[in-house]
């Protein structure tokens, strides 16, 4: 495989690096040795020493995860989406391409801006002879020209907009087997039965997986019965009636 040189001077961000990788290095993604990209990057970081930029590093991490995801989709062509809400491979592909096409326009526009700026940079404006001073209007002329209610609206807007930083893009999943066991027992205590999808269908894959573990656990303890018509179909869960003692 061709050794991959990662020129960090041109590194800007995920889409940029992706485009450079694809166009500059003339490689197909299936042949991109991600491991070499990462070691090249780490070497570069080491050489840079303490000046490493956290923003840049997290961007790199983001891009690598994007590449790993796409590549694994390519390597497993038959893979079906786990959840109905998830994009099909075709949709994901089209979406990524559309974003790359859109992004590439701005990348070229930035290059043109650079040229315009360099051309213009060979001409010099004169420094103003002195700073202009603003003459303030007579108070009588402007008294009451603004409405105090506008201040109130502005202040309320500021207060309203003051929220915790949006961390929506960070998936925070807190999940424990014990908790899933409690949830399942709780639902069964109230309703006696439920279908897996109706309760856990909207959850993250990790939550779904742990819930399934919890089901298996309860099955093993003999607390529930579960049935499924076919592979990947919904799972019906019922409380197992314990044989009456005596």
């Amino acid at each position: 495989m061709r050794p991959l040189e990662l020129d960090l001077d041109v590194y800007q961000g995920p889409f940029d690096l992706l485009l450079s990788l694809v166009f500059r290095e003339e490689i197909d993604l299936l042949e991109v040795p991600l491991f070499e990209v990462i070691s090249a990057y780490l070497d570069e970081l080491e050489a840079k020493g303490a000046t490493a930029d956290w923003d840049e590093m997290s961007e790199f991490l983001l891009l690598m995860s994007l590449l790993v995801e796409i590549k694994s989709r390519l390597l497993l062509p038959g893979a079906e989406p786990l959840l109905e809400s998830e994009l099909t491979p075709e949709q994901a592909r089209d979406q990524l391409l559309a974003r790359l096409f859109e992004y590439s326009k701005f990348k070229s526009a930035a290059e043109r801006l650079r040229h315009l700026g360099l051309e213009n940079g060979s001409c010099l404006l004169r420094k103003p002879e002195r700073a202009a001073t603003r003459k303030l209007a007579e108070l009588d002329d402007i008294a009451g020209s603004e409405d105090a209610m506008k201040l109130r609206e502005a202040m309320l807007r500021v207060i309203d907009n003051r929220r915790e930083p949006d961390t929506g893009h960070i998936i925070q999943t807190k999940v424990e087997l014990q908790r899933q066991l409690r949830i399942i027992r709780g639902v069964l205590a109230r309703h006696g039965k439920f279908s897996f999808n109706s309760i856990f269908g909207g959850e993250e894959p990790l939550v779904q997986a742990l819930s399934l573990f919890a089901l298996l656990d309860l099955l093993a303890r003999g607390e529930i019965r579960a049935s499924q018509n076919e592979n990947f179909a919904d799972i019906k869960v019922r409380v197992r009636e314990l044989p009456k003692a005596g």
């Binding site: 800007q12 961007e59 038959g78 592909r93 700026g117 940079g121 010099l124 103003p128």
Partner: protein, 198 residues
């Protein structure tokens, strides 16, 4: 001395003294001319001045439309000589590729919010936006009415001056920067996205 010559002379003095691009309003104000009457007069005089200082190399300065106004600036031919005595503006040269990219997004899509910029670039752009704000190349222009009232950004007059634009309508059309169909196909192929999985 005719009025025409006097007006031309006054404008020359104003443009020289100002340094920064002068808007029509600023000129009319200094000349104490009312807008409807004064504007055509000033425009005629500016055209005459611009014909004289037209950047044909006869003068060391040229009169150009810049950042929504007019300004004298040194002719590009004198670049080497001027740069030996004075620091030429380096704003454009000092901007990182990431900053330029971010600036391009703001220039073409303004008013635009930080999340929108990040969406286009595929990367968080907060620190880049901050740098552009500090350099006064972009500025706040309001708040989005939707989506939590995100702050919206636009470019400044300084941006136009730094990149030698008379106005935003002088930005080259964005569509002209689209990838060609061949490049798009190449991108699809290289990403291995041409073959649809079964």
């Amino acid at each position: 001395m005719t009025d025409d010559l006097e007006l031309k002379r006054d404008l020359e003095a104003l443009l020289f003294a100002s340094g920064a691009p002068l808007s029509m309003d600023a000129m009319l104000g200094a000349l104490e001319l009312p807008g409807e009457l004064g504007k055509p007069l000033v425009e005629t005089a500016l055209a005459a001045l611009a014909a004289e200082y037209c950047g044909n190399g006869r003068h060391g300065i040229e009169l150009v439309r810049l950042a929504g106004g007019w300004a004298f600036r040194t002719d590009a031919r004198c670049h080497a000589v001027v740069s030996r005595l004075f620091e030429l503006p380096e704003d454009a040269a000092r901007l990182s590729p990431a900053a330029l990219e971010c600036l391009a997004v703001v220039a073409y899509l303004q008013p635009v919010s930080r999340p929108q910029i990040a969406e286009i670039r595929g990367v968080n752009s907060d620190s880049t936006v901050h740098k552009l704000l500090e350099r006064e190349l972009i500025t706040e222009v309001g708040r989005s009415t939707a989506a939590g009232g995100a702050i919206l950004y636009g470019t400044t007059q300084r941006f136009e001056a730094v990149f030698g634009l008379a106005g935003l309508d002088e930005l080259p059309a964005l569509e002209g920067f689209s990838l060609t169909e061949d490049q798009k196909d190449e991108l699809r192929r290289r990403l291995g996205l041409m073959t649809v999985p079964e």
